[in-house]
């Protein structure tokens, strides 16, 4: 176990260091959520005027919940890009050779993804508060919201880690981010689920991201709903993705 933590600590430190000393790596993961917040909360706020839209904290908070979770997911996705880059540069192969407990590599990258998201999530939250976002949730509710974000970040990081380790090329970038992007956008992003129509409504009803998003919005509004379901789905997702990431690592080990 000591060797596991030793490897995880080393990989996490390198991942965090690379993120914060290289603006080219850090800035996109900060800019993307900020511009989604500006574009959705700013450009689409008239949507809140349609009949039966009754989210009490307002449209900025409604969109913040989505952007907050999206930034968590993309914190994991961007870490996947870094893993793929490490394989292309040859660093990851050297890492595989010298790591005494290789599963610590996955844990290290996951911690790196989490720290990266803490920076992004803080910036997005401050931006939303400056934009006048209302928060009706209590301290406990907000801790619940943060926990949801952490789990989303973990699930996305493990997914990205698995793909990056299976394919070991930067060209895997599209494959890493597209499914995450699609799953997130097939949730009720712009209006509550009951106001969705057509095929998106049918898909959103069974999309696990919907429960997570509705739980986040409920916590922010101080009227929690589907919280247990969201945590259950995310924990199950984390277990499945941990197995997926481990298999990706095994594939990389076999490839040498």
């Amino acid at each position: 176990m000591r060797r596991f933590f030793f490897v995880a600590q080393g990989v996490a430190w390198r991942s965090i260091h690379n993120t914060f000393v290289s603006p080219a790596i850090l800035l996109p993961s900060i800019i993307f959520p900020l511009f989604f917040l500006a574009a959705f909360a700013g450009g689409l706020s008239r949507i809140s005027h349609i009949p039966n839209f009754d989210y009490k904290p307002g449209y900025t908070a409604f969109q913040f919940a989505f952007v907050f979770l999206q930034s968590a997911a993309f914190g994991g996705v961007f870490t996947g890009f870094a893993i793929a880059r490490d394989f292309e540069s040859g660093f990851a192969r050297r890492l595989l050779l010298c790591a005494p407990r290789r599963s610590g590599i996955i844990a290290g990258y996951a911690v790196g993804a989490l720290v990266r998201w803490f920076a992004t999530g803080t910036v997005v939250t401050v931006a939303a508060l400056l934009a006048g976002m209302n928060v009706f949730g209590s301290g406990i509710d907000l801790i619940g919201l943060l926990a949801l974000g952490i789990l989303v970040n973990l699930v996305a990081a493990l997914w990205a880690c698995g793909i990056a380790m299976f394919l070991r090329t930067e060209q895997a970038g599209a494959l890493i981010q597209m499914p995450v992007f699609i799953v997130l956008f097939l949730a009720p992003v712009y209006v509550p689920l009951r106001l969705l129509t057509g095929w998106v409504h049918s898909v959103a009803r069974v999309n696990p991201a919907t429960a997570t998003l509705e739980a986040a919005r409920g916590l922010l509004a101080g009227s929690p709903e589907k919280v247990a379901l969201a945590f259950g789905l995310l924990l199950a997702g984390a277990i499945v993705m941990a197995v997926w990431a481990r298999r990706g690592l095994a594939s990389a080990e076999r490839a040498g």
Binding site: F35, F36, G43, I182
Partner: protein
Amino acid sequence: MAVAAVAVAEAPSEPHLLVQVGAIARRSITRTVRQRGLLVFPLLFPLILFAINGSALSSARRIPGFPHVGYGDFVLAVTFIQGALFVAVSAGTDLARDIESGFFNRLALTPLSGSALLAGQLGGALVIALIQSFIYLSVGVISGVTIASGLAGALVVILLSIVIAFGFAGLGSLLALRFGTGEAVQGFFPLLFVAVFLSSSSLPRNLIQVSWFREVATYNPVSYMIEGLRSLIITGWDGQALALGFGFALVLSAVTLSLAGAAMKNRLVRT
């Protein structure tokens, strides 16, 4: 005297400009077609967003003052602009790869003119733009979008989207020539994407509630490109919207291509 005359007669003449452009364009097109990943992603991503947003934002039709059309009709124009952004990145990345691999330096040793090289390099981008605009329009029509300006209008939609894509491809080339790396070109992609979102892409400008956003959208040339395309799809023949759409697209092309031409001259300096 006779020897000199023979030497002049045998000196290789510089190929015609069109021949030079053709040679580079053929290479650019072949390379583009061979890289299926480059074709598939620019095609699919805007279509996915069209499918999702067209349905997820359909409630926007209930906003008082929204045009009396389906949201899919309203948002189809944005698909062409998003496709044009991918064309820009693709054109810029291809050019940057030539610079990074040294191919560009070898071309600099040939009699090839800079303008022919630039025009030829954009050939692949134009092929992508043509294919994708045709596919976007077809998918739109199949999914129930009605082109208010009819068949002639549909052809003008394709023409305008190609002019817009050409302008953005010029921007991609400019970035590649200025910075010389594909990473730098791709790093600018989020900024281009922001330009699309901070426009009238999701709602008409008069329905944007937040004043700073409405101001930005009003000064953003991308709004007018979108509105030019959108007018043909949902309104019919709107001279003002078309003039602004074509005008801004042509200005973008002229500015980016002249700046790229100047940057090309610096890249091709024989040392």
